[in-house]
Symmetry: C2
Subunit: 284 residues, 2 copies
């Protein structure tokens, strides 16, 4: 059987399934201290005979196999989770292979194998929520190198009608600092979900996201870009982003038809946990 | 034997070698019309019994195997070369496997296997010359997806002391529009090679390049970044770029020590042609 953990900052989604992913059982638990949380993970997994586990974790995490802290959650703002040996704890309890990557790489993998990017060799998954995080699959493998992508923190040009200073403690007005949910909330003193009717809000949001997608396209050339996360529940954003993307790219690079290129997740909120199960399956 | 073509806009570098790359013979020919140029290519290669060929070409080119124009040079500003079936012409003459990618992907591959990134799984190669072009190798494979990277055209933030409008016909002030050799020349009415002593020139240049390297790092997380091309002959740029990169990233992501991370080519001007030979070898 396969085990999977989509480890988020507020909740962990746990799943087990048979090796073909036909029957999946899931459980969601709150993210509290590492001790308490892992106790609940073990309690759930101990009922099964797992052959492999897949983890997609919030981060930053160490994915560098040459590093002495490979498998750790590293400099996360969630203090109790800083420098926690996530992979080590699992390996100690279960003597099985464990796939270890970011939550967004797992989501990209899920979307490639069973979601919006089925049949492709590559895709990029961007979540626009409390933060902005991006993952990708290239030639069928989650994208990692010295570390893992942190696509939410790329510099962007300011929209000419925006003077918001940005929320990122590291870069102020990077993409995440200007376009994640909390940036929208601070800019307008209202949560994004209550701003649906404000055209100006979504024009500015689309400008930043389109700029980022242009950059990712020019850098990575994925076959599909999938946008998820709370803010993307504002589905009017998709056509606005496509329009802005087209304006910015200005015909310079070939992309698939934009309606096919910039899309919503095929697996809705299950992209991450499905990706984790599939990454576990890949370890068999 | 192996054949290789590094196809540039002004010259083609041709090479043949034994299958282990021990003995390499090279010839450089000017890029004129496709007919004339290919005649010279054939004249050179016809003397050998090639088993595979590797091509790294100027572009944009079509690298999408599902496309009907796979193997073509597409929308290049060099009019005579627009929509030329480069790969087809080679395949017609030589019934051997041909590796086909961009000049900068080939250079990245060369640097990974025999240059500054030996021992790594990934690297990024950026040339800063008449244009700015980037290539990468990820998990040992040249980076391609729907198309190939066009890293030179990413949007960047203007330096606060720069009011140059940019040279890019598509995006005006994209990275290439602000930081390639011709942008420097137009901004100061003097070729870059005659501006060595002007501190302001290189501060602005380093700011743009560092911003781009930050974006590539956050998006791709390569294990090494190699900077080549005419403009990078100004070797004072390397430390300036590293300093600016460090300031911009502001500790947010782990990178190797910057002296090891942002480096000059290990193969000097042979990165591209060596990469082409190695890509041919990979086809055996
Ligand atoms: N329907 C909605 N429309 C716009 N923004 C939303 C919506 N739902 C949630 N958000 C915003 O998304 C952010 C939460 O992101 P979400 O993806 O749900 O969780 P997280 O990123 O923490 O996993 C909040 O800033 C919230 O205001
Ligand atoms: N030593 C140098 N210092 C600064 N700039 C240079 C130097 N040599 C060439 N360049 C600039 O690099 C550009 C040419 O780039 P190069 O990489 O040599 O060729 P290409 O990009 O056409 O293959 C020109 O704009 C030129 O001004
Ligand atoms: Zn940031
Ligand atoms: Zn451009």
């Amino acid at each position: 059987m396969l085990g999977a953990i989509e480890a988020g900052g507020t909740k962990f989604v746990l799943a087990v399934s048979d090796n073909t992913l036909e029957h999946v059982e899931k459980l969601s638990i709150p993210t509290t201290t590492p001790e308490e949380t892992f106790d609940k993970v073990f309690e759930f997994f101990d009922n099964y005979t797992l052959e492999a586990i897949g983890v997609g974790s919030f981060g930053p995490i160490d994915v560098n196999k040459n590093s002495s802290t490979y498998g750790y959650v590293t400099s996360t703002p969630k203090l109790a989770w800083q420098n926690v040996d996530f992979l080590g704890k699992l390996k100690e309890r279960y003597a099985v292979p464990v796939a270890w990557t970011t939550d967004v790489n797992a989501a990209a993998y899920g979307e490639l194998k069973k979601g919006a990017a089925v049949g492709k060799n590559s895709c990029l998954y961007l979540t626009v929520g409390t933060g902005i995080g991006g993952g990708a699959v290239i030639n069928g493998e989650p994208l990692e190198g010295y570390g893992h992508p942190e696509m939410g923190h790329i510099p962007v040009r300011m929209h000419e009608e925006d003077s918001f200073k940005g929320t990122c403690p590291y870069h102020s007005n990077c993409l995440e600092g200007l376009a994640a949910g909390p940036a929208i909330e601070q800019r307008y003193n209202k949560k994004a979900q209550y701003l649906t009717d404000r055209k100006d809000v979504w024009d500015i949001e689309a400008y930043y996201l389109a700029q980022a997608l242009m950059t990712y396209t020019l850098t990575l050339s994925p076959e599909k870009i999938i946008l998820g996360g709370g803010v993307m529940k504002q589905s009017q954003l998709y056509p606005l982003i496509r329009k802005e993307f087209s304006k910015l790219v200005n015909g310079y690079v070939a992309t698939p038809d934009l309606d096919e290129y910039i899309v919503s997740p095929g697996l809705d909120d299950n992209a991450g946990i499905t990706g984790c199960l599939l990454l576990a399956q890949k370890e068999l």
